[in-house]
């Protein structure tokens, strides 16, 4: 187990990268504490798998260093880093039994037979696969296969970090939930540092103590799930996390006040910087309808079960609201009220208001 430090990390798949666009990873500086559960969240192609492969040693970064505790492992191959990785598709050794699959990493490292046996039995019990130990791994269902590939990572007791690369992609929806809670349970039992890569916000937010949100090779925000939801540091985080995501409304900053379609909007606090175009961000959860609000017209209503998502337009600007209880009719004129302490201004994508405590 170890603390993981990524220091000034950059990576390009080109031999001679010319501009910042050639970099799949742009300047990453992160420290992950020993024993933590972290998630890397971002859309496909944001560089999260590249980052994962750099940590595991399958890729060597173009610039920067990777430290496990204080040891520089940047140039070490995967098998010398004592890491484990679970892939998108379950990787199992078809011809071996479940037992041999779990024992394989230990056998390759020359561990004694009795020690192998006790480790394999312990891990099998943790994963609830004890009754399958003598079956051939090829005959297992996908979720059990994925459990075995997790087990191969956990079986070594010297593992620095276990990494998961979208491990639930091929698992049936009703088993995803089970496997996810298994994973959480495992983390509490073995206390290894775990990094979970996904583009699914539910997976990231339920698994991790801390979520790293990435976009186009950059880390846009690191925080607890609550922090990411409450105060997104970037419009991307606001939009990517939440369902539906944050409303990002084109507005204007004039004489120290924010204006939306010509109407003054109260923000959570003072805005830094000069007058000009800004974006006003507010989550649909904090949008209400009522008298005295910004004039708008309801354009669409989607019933998503426990609540309704009401779409309206303030002039030309679309806005979504999550409403429980009474909903206005489509086509009706309504007043839109934005909850002040949840209404923030963004400039160039980045948060520009200060919170009033």
């Amino acid at each position: 187990m170890a603390r993981i430090t990524l220091s000034n990390l950059r990576h390009s798949y080109y031999r001679n990268p010319k501009g910042p666009d050639d970099f799949a990873l742009k300047e990453i500086d992160v420290t992950w504490e020993d024993g933590g559960a972290y998630a890397l969240l971002g859309p496909s192609g944001c560089g999260k798998s590249t980052l994962l492969n750099i940590i595991s040693g399958l890729l060597t970064p173009s610039e920067g260093r990777v430290l496990f505790d204080d040891k520089d492992v940047t140039n070490l191959p995967p098998d010398q880093r004592n890491i484990a990785q679970v892939f998108q598709f379950p990787v199992i050794y078809d011809t071996m039994t479940v037992y041999d699959n779990l024992a394989f990493p230990l056998k390759n490292r020359g561990v004694g037979a009795s020690q192998i046996d006790s480790r394999v039995q312990a891990i099998a019990e943790m994963l609830d696969v004890t009754d399958m130990l003598s079956t051939r791994a090829a005959h297992l269902s996908p979720d059990n296969k994925q459990k075995i590939s997790m087990g191969r990572g956990l079986v070594r007791d010297d593992v620095n970090v276990v990494m998961f690369d979208e491990p639930l992609t091929v698992i049936d929806p009703h088993l995803k939930w089970k496997l996810r809670s298994k994973l959480k349970e495992l983390h509490q039992r073995v206390r290894a540092t775990m990094i979970y890569v996904t583009h699914d916000q539910t997976e990231a937010l339920t698994f991790a103590d801390q979520v790293v949100v990435m976009q186009e090779g950059e880390v846009v925000q690191i925080g607890t799930p609550i922090e990411l939801f409450d105060r997104p540091a970037h419009t991307f985080v606001g939009h990517f996390i939440g369902s539906p995501g944050m409303n990002i409304l084109a507005g204007e900053l004039k004489d120290g006040g924010a204006f939306l379609n010509g109407h003054n909007v109260a923000l959570e606090g003072p805005v830094s910087g000069t007058d000009g175009a800004i974006e006003i961000g507010v989550r649909p959860e904090f949008v209400e309808f009522g008298p005295g609000g910004l004039p708008a017209r309801v354009t669409n209503i989607a019933d998503v079960g426990r609540h309704n998502v009401v779409e309206a337009r303030i002039g030309d600007i679309p806005i979504k609201a999550k409403i429980e209880g009474d909903i206005p009719e489509v086509g009706s004129e309504v007043g839109v009220i934005l909850k002040q302490d949840q209404t923030r201004a963004y400039r160039g994508g980045w948060l520009a208001t200060e919170a009033q405590s």
């Binding site: 595991s56 399958l58 098998d79 011809t95 490292r109």
Partner: protein, 287 residues
């Protein structure tokens, strides 16, 4: 309730006709010959199973069958490992992939009798490049028209040259279908190169290798054209494989009855070995 749709039979009919005319009918004429004796003029005499007994007891048949098994065994034991090694060393990505594939496919595109003729000219002493090189430059006596061992080496090398590509291409297809994650997982698990081959590559190649071995067995067991053009079964009878012997009996001596009986035995052996091999190889998957 499910109603059975009898119309489906009509769709099978064309295939049935096709198979009947290109396989069943010719096969039955052979069966017909195999139990009768004829002296021409369409006169036939019932012979029962005499021809079968005669063939099965004949030393000549035993010798040809032995040579046939030896030949097939030799080429399989060379072509399969060699094919896998070549497939493993071919690039998985990049501009060299098509180049390698075309190079590999080339020998298989050459008509079989041309292969025989090529190797004949190539290996003849005095006039052939290889023959000249061996005898006159290196001073090693090499004459496949006189020496049985040289003839055997030549037909085996020729077959390896002609058909290893098939094993290579099929193995390669199996190899490139392995996702990168398997190799990465093996690296992380600390597997040795042999471990990667034994537990990842070989199991993933198993299906295509089964087909490759099956095809190479059937083709090599029925081989005729190339050795016939190259050695004509000689020197003596040393390279007279089953099919060459069969043609000698059927068209050389015009013994249609024994030849027909021999064809059926030949066919039964090919079928039996293929079936046993295929059943053994696929047994695990069915479990």
């Amino acid at each position: 309730m499910k109603t059975e749709n009898q119309k489906a039979w009509f769709f099978v009919l064309p295939v049935l006709f096709l198979v009947a005319f290109n396989a069943l009918v010719p096969m039955m004429t052979v069966v017909n010959y195999s139990v009768q004796e004829t002296f021409g003029d369409n006169l036939f005499f019932w012979q029962g199973l005499d021809w079968f007994e005669q063939i099965l007891r004949s030393d000549r048949f035993h010798a040809a069958l032995g040579r046939q098994f030896l030949f097939t065994f030799m080429i399989l034991i060379i072509e399969v490992p060699l094919g896998i090694i070549i497939a493993l060393s071919m690039p998985r990505k990049g501009p060299w992939v098509p180049v390698c594939l075309v190079l590999m496919a080339l020998p298989m595109l050459i008509p079989w009798n041309v292969v025989g003729a090529m190797w004949n000219i190539f290996t003849l002493p005095k006039i052939g490049l290889l023959g000249y090189l061996m005898n006159d430059t290196l001073g090693i006596t090499y004459d496949m028209t006189q020496d049985p061992l040289a003839a055997w080496i030549t037909i085996i090398v020729m077959d390896v040259w002609h058909w290893t590509s098939l094993v290579v291409l099929l193995s390669y297809a199996g190899l490139v279908s392995i996702p990168d994650a398997y190799y990465q997982a093996a690296k992380i698990d600390g597997a040795s190169p042999w471990g990667v081959f034994r537990y990842i590559q070989l199991p993933k190649m198993k299906t295509v290798l089964t087909i490759a071995i099956l095809l190479r067995f059937m083709d090599s067991f029925n081989i005729y054209t190339e050795p016939f053009v190259l050695t004509g079964g000689g020197p003596g009878n040393s390279t007279t494989l089953l099919s060459i012997d069969l043609v000698k009996i059927a068209l050389g001596q015009f013994d249609l009855g024994p030849a027909a009986a021999m064809s059926l035995i030949y066919f039964a052996i090919t079928l039996l070995v293929s079936w046993v091999f295929y059943t053994l190889m696929t047994k695990d998957d069915a479990k």
